[in-house]
């Protein structure tokens, strides 16, 4: 019974010379290639008597998966036997006789096959890079996510960047092979592969970890960084203006908990969420809600949600401020609504504006260097009348919970 060995090669297609060297080294140890799987390039080897056979990778001439019978016969007449196909890009041939002439003796002619392959691989590479760019662009589109999930964001960015570098490296290497062949330089059939194996293995491990629950674990750790407490339980100063100071009607009541219970449990309706990390040393999300005492009225009478952040730098404060303002200005049921910003004249602030959200709510944004405050208010008072109260919040620093 013949022994079999299954080995993932993890070799990118832009290293045909490394793949040939690897296969020949395996043959010298008595392991002969039988087949290459499509997924992760799993190679199936069969045990035999060690022999110095030669393997050569030939670019696939078009979109076929296997060579034509005519091509197989043609190569066989010269002593080269077709074995299998490597990914969509190469046919693998083997010669057992050391006197068999090389498959190619003219680099300029060989370059034609690589040119076609370079174009096809470049299309594949560009499509992959475009997809990666979309994922890499998420932090730019939603920078607050970086602050809420810093560990997961860092891990995802590193993994995606590593992939992007690998793809770009592969595309460039293939074009380099083509350029050398076009200049009459023959292709080398010997190349070290261990460092390529190691690099590709690391990147694949990163990807597997990314897909596995490990990334969920990172999100869980990020979420555990956030501390939530009822407002009434916090004694330290917090960056918010109490709802009562905005003018609260005697018809309302501001309770620590939501009178509309969900699942029999009271949930906090006046609370603070605080988090601290290297990108944002202190952030606070404060929610305040007051309810109607008249049960015939809608339950929520007035509410105010604010986000206050002390960032690592002013650029972060700017983009995070924009992100939260867009989030708070998002009007359910009305797509494409663009809130009109009314600039406020406020000395000492890099940015200050007010916005009216279709008469249903109001928004205020204040930014000073690396600190930003965004307030969303739904009630009878006007945020414009209390701008000075919110501006005063910037006169002191706050310690995260």
């Amino acid at each position: 019974m013949k022994h079999h060995l299954f080995l993932p090669t993890f070799l990118p297609v832009s290293f045909p010379d490394a793949m040939e060297t690897f296969l020949e080294d395996m043959a010298k140890k008595g392991w002969f290639l039988k087949k290459v799987g499509y997924f992760l390039s799993f190679c199936q080897f069969e045990k035999g008597t060690p022999a110095p056979v030669r393997y050569r990778l030939e670019p696939v001439p078009d979109t076929v998966r296997t060579p034509s019978a005519e091509m197989v016969q043609f190569y066989e007449d010269f002593g080269w036997k077709y074995l299998t196909t490597f990914s969509h890009f190469f046919f693998i041939f083997v010669a057992e006789n050391p006197d068999t002439p090389e498959i190619h003796c003219d680099p300029l002619v060989q370059a034609k096959g690589y040119k076609r392959m370079c174009r096809n691989f470049s299309v594949f590479g560009l499509a992959s890079l475009a997809l990666l760019a979309i994922f890499l662009g998420i932090p730019l589109y939603h920078p607050a996510f970086l602050l809420e999930c810093p560990r997961f964001s860092a891990f995802a960015l590193v993994t995606l960047l590593a992939f992007a570098v690998l793809i770009l490296w592969s595309v460039l290497r293939l074009w380099k092979i083509y350029r050398n062949l076009s200049q009459g330089k023959p292709l080398s059939h010997r190349k070290g592969y261990l460092h390529i194996f190691s690099l590709q293995t690391i990147i694949l491990v990163l990807l597997v970890l990314f897909l596995l629950p490990f990334s969920d674990k990172l999100v869980e750790w990020d979420e555990n960084d956030q501390i939530t407490q009822a407002l009434t339980a916090v004694e330290e100063p917090l960056p918010y203006v109490p709802l009562a100071e905005m003018g609260i009607s005697p018809d309302w009541v501001q309770t620590p908990y939501d009178p509309i219970t969900i699942g029999g449990k009271n949930s906090d309706s006046n609370y603070v969420r605080s988090r601290s990390n290297v990108l944002a040393p202190a952030t606070f999300q404060i929610s305040q809600t007051a309810y109607h005492t008249d049960p015939n009225m809608p339950a929520v009478a007035t509410s105010m949600t604010s986000y206050y952040g002390e960032m690592a730098n002013s650029f972060l404060a700017k983009i995070v401020g924009m992100d939260f303002a867009n989030l708070y200005a998002d009007t359910p049921g009305i797509s494409g609504y663009k809130m009109e910003k009314e600039p406020l004249s406020l000395s000492g602030f890099s940015e200050a504006y007010y916005g009216d959200l279709l008469g249903n709510a109001q928004l205020l944004l204040l930014r000073q260097d690396n600190r930003v405050l965004i307030v969303h208010y739904a009630g009878d008072a006007s945020l414009k009348d209390h701008v000075e109260d919110f501006a005063k919040l910037f006169t002191q620093s706050y310690t995260p919970l």
């Binding site: 003219d106 300029l108 060989q110 034609k112 096959g113």
Partner: protein, 108 residues
Amino acid sequence: MALAKKSLEILTETMFYVLMAFLKTDMCGTDVAAFIDRKTKGRIQMGPGTLYTILAKFQSEGLLEETEIQGRKRTYRITHRGRRIYAEEVERLRRCLLDAEEEAHTEL
């Protein structure tokens, strides 16, 4: 046709010898390789990849045409266009050689 001609503007040494192989008789791939090996006294050892590519290219450019298919083996013959391209290349090489010899005599 102009595009095809532009594609063949550069005839490499191996391409030249492949055309030469078909001057006197129809041939299949292994016969061509054997002819070139004999003609160049082993200097050019034609590989299947190079030959397969050249034969396919010459066929698509109209320099060769298929005459016979026996199982998986194909036989080709050179066309008028192929002979013309070959003759032009011989003339070009002859002029190169004359220029080189003239230059060598001038130096002396």
